[in-house]
Amino acid sequence: MVQRQCIAATTRAFSTCTLSRPASRTTPPRIHNQLSHQRRHLHQTQPRTTRTPLTHLQHTFPRRNTPKTRTFTTTPARSHGDLTPPKPGEERHVTFVDKDLQHHTFVVADGDNLLDIAQANDLEMEGACGGSCACSTCHVIVESDEMFDRMEEPSDDENDMLDLAFGLTETSRLGCQVVMRKELDGVVVKLPSMTRNMQASDFAEKS
C-alpha cells in the first residue's frame, strides 16, 4: 500500500517537474539529477515505520544496480548523486542546516562525503572543482566543537582553501573532505549563507 502511494506521488511530482522541459533535446545531467532527487526525496518522506531500512534504500537508490543504463555519470565530477546505500545497522545520520535555518537530515553510508550527500539531496552546495579540494565552494560549518574534534585534522591543502572561504569559523571544513564514518553519526553542519560579494570590504574603493 505504501509502495503504491509512493509511486503515485512520484508520478505526480515528476510530471509537474517535466512540464517545462523541452521535448527534443537531452536533459542535462544536473537537472536530470534534480528530477531523480525529487523522486528519491518523495520516497524518503513516506512513513518509514512499515519498511526495513534495506528495502527502503533499495527502493530509494534504484539506479545503483544498473550502472550501464545511467544517463548522467560520465565523469567523476558529474557523479554526485550516486551515494552508496548504507549496510543494515551501519546507517549514519547527517543533518544540514541551510541558510534559511531549515534542517535536512539524511541517512547515509560510511565513506560518502558531505559534498556528495548535499548534492545528491539537492541542497544548495556547489562543488566548482568537482570535490578535489581546489576551491572553497563546499564550505560547511560543523555545529558542535566535539564533533569537529572527532574529525580528522584538515590537511594543509584544505586549510589553504578554507582561508579563502567567506564566513570562516573555528569549525569550518570543506564538505568534500569530510567523509562519513561511525564516529560522525549524527553530525550537524551549517551551510554558510552565500553573501560573500555583499561584504562591504569587497566594495571598498580600490586605490
Binding site: R12, R30, I31, Q102, D160, L168
Partner: protein
Amino acid sequence: MLVRRAPWVCQTCRHHGPSASRTYSTAATRQRPIHVAIIGSGPAGFYSAYRLLKKLPDARIDMFEHLPVPYGLVRYGVAPDHPDVKKSAETLVDVAKHGHFNFAGNVPIGNDPGCLPLTSIAPYYDALLFAYGASRDKKLDIPGEDLKGVLSARAFVGWYNGLPEYADLDPDLTGGDTAVVIGQGNVALDVTRMLLAPLDELRKTDLTEHAIDTLSRSRVNNVKVIGRRGPLQAPYTIKELRELMQMRSLGFAPPPEGWDKLIRVEPRKRLPRQLKRIAELLEKGSTTPMQEAEKAWQLGYLRAPAAFLSSNNEQLEAVGFEQQEYDSPVSDLITGDAPTDLNGLRGLRVRSTGAKSLVHAHLAFRSVGYQSTPLEGFGDIGVPFDQARGIIPNDRWGRVISPSKGPAGPLTAGHVPGMYCAGWVKRGPTGVIASTLDDAFTTADIIAKDWEEGTRFLSSPDGDADGTKGGWTAVKREIQRRGIRSVSWYEWEKIDAEERRRGQLRGKEREKIRRVSEMLAVLDGYGRTSYM
C-alpha cells in the same frame, strides 16, 4: 502576485526543489520564458547561466564569445599545473548541453564589419548580461615600460596558455638568469612557477608545446617577486605560496633586509587565522634548503617600481625601486576581532621613504592587475562604464545602474532596464573562482527576482515589452547577414576532440590550438578559410 497552479506538491518538496515550484510561480504578467543574452563565456557567464536555468527553468539563454572556444579564464587563465581548478569546466558542460542554451563562438561584439553590434542583439532579448571579464592589464606608467624585456604578465600567461591574441609573443628567456616580477598576486606567482617549475612536470600538463620549447631554453633560475606593500598585505593566496615553497629543487630566499621585522608581527597568536598561516609558511621557508637548490625565488616587500632602466634605451638592464614604509605600525591594527583585523591588516597603506634601490635583470614582468574596458557600442544601448574603477556601474547585486540617468529622467541614478553584469566586469578583477561563482549566482538570482516581480526589462523596438523576443532565431539571422562564421557548441566539441587527439599523441591531456584560423580549419578544412 504569485499564482500557483500546480496540482499538488508536498511542502517539503516545494521547499526542496526550487525548479519544481518556480515553474508555477510566475507573475501574472510573465507568461512567457525570459530571453537572456550573456556576453562572455568564462566562469561568470557560465555560472550565471547555470543558476538562471535553475531559478527559471524556462529561460532561454544565448551566450556570445569572441573566440571560437569557450571558458574564458578557465581555459586561458588558470595555470596548466592546476588541473583541479580547470575541472570546473566539467560542471559548465552540463549547462552548455541544456536544451535552452545556445553558444555562439567566434562572434566579436562591436560596430566594425565582421562584428555583431550590441544594437543588433538587444532588441531580441529581455535582458543582456555582461560577463566579459577584464581584457587588459594595468600599466605601471613609469619610465621604460616599453623596453625590450619588460613583459605584461597577462600576455605571458596568455602565451603559455595558448591564447590566440599572444600566439606570437615569443618571450626571450635567454637574456639573463634573473627575472623580476612586479606585483604579488596569484598571477605573479603563476608566472614565477612557470619560469621555475621542473620541465618534466610541466610536460604532463596542457601547457602548449611551443611554451615548453621556449621554457626549455630559458636561462632564468632566479625570480624576484616584488611588491609595494608587506607580506600580510600582498594579494597572493596561501595555496600558490605553498606550491612554490614545496616545489622540487627550488629554494626560497627571504628578502635581503628587515625580514624579521616584517614577518614577526607580535603578537602572532592574535593575527587572524589566514594571515597567521601565511606568516608561518613564509617563516618556515622552502622544503628545499637554499644550499641544495638548483633554482631560487625571492619575495621583496615595501618596494614600489620607479623605472625600468637601460643603458642603450633598448634592452632592459635593471629595475629601479623606491623604498616604502607602513603608514602606521602593524601591531596597532590588532584589536582581537578577526574580521576587523583582517580588513585592517590587508588594507594597511604604505608611503614612500624616498630611498632608492636597484635590481639588475634582463627580464621583468608587470603583474599589477587586470582591467576591464567598455564594449564598443555601450553608448548605443545606454550602458555606462566607470573608467576610473574599470567596471560597469552596478548596484552590487548585478543590476547595471546609470549614474546620470534613471527611469524617472536625468539626474536620478537608476537601474538601466534589462541590463545586468557579473564577474570581473562587475566587481573588478579580484578573487578566486569561488568568488566569481558567488557573484554570478547573485546576479542570476536578481534577474530571476526581477523577472518574477514584473520589473521592467528590455522592450522590443516597437515598444512592446511583453511580446516574446526573437532570441536565438533572430540573432542568428543577424550573425549570418554579417557573414560572421559563428561556432556552435557542437563545433567547439569538434575542436575540443581535435585538441585532445593532438594531446594524446604527446601523452598529455590536450594540445591547444593557438590560432583562430587553425581552429576554424578544424571545422571547415584547411585552405578554405581566410579568417583572422
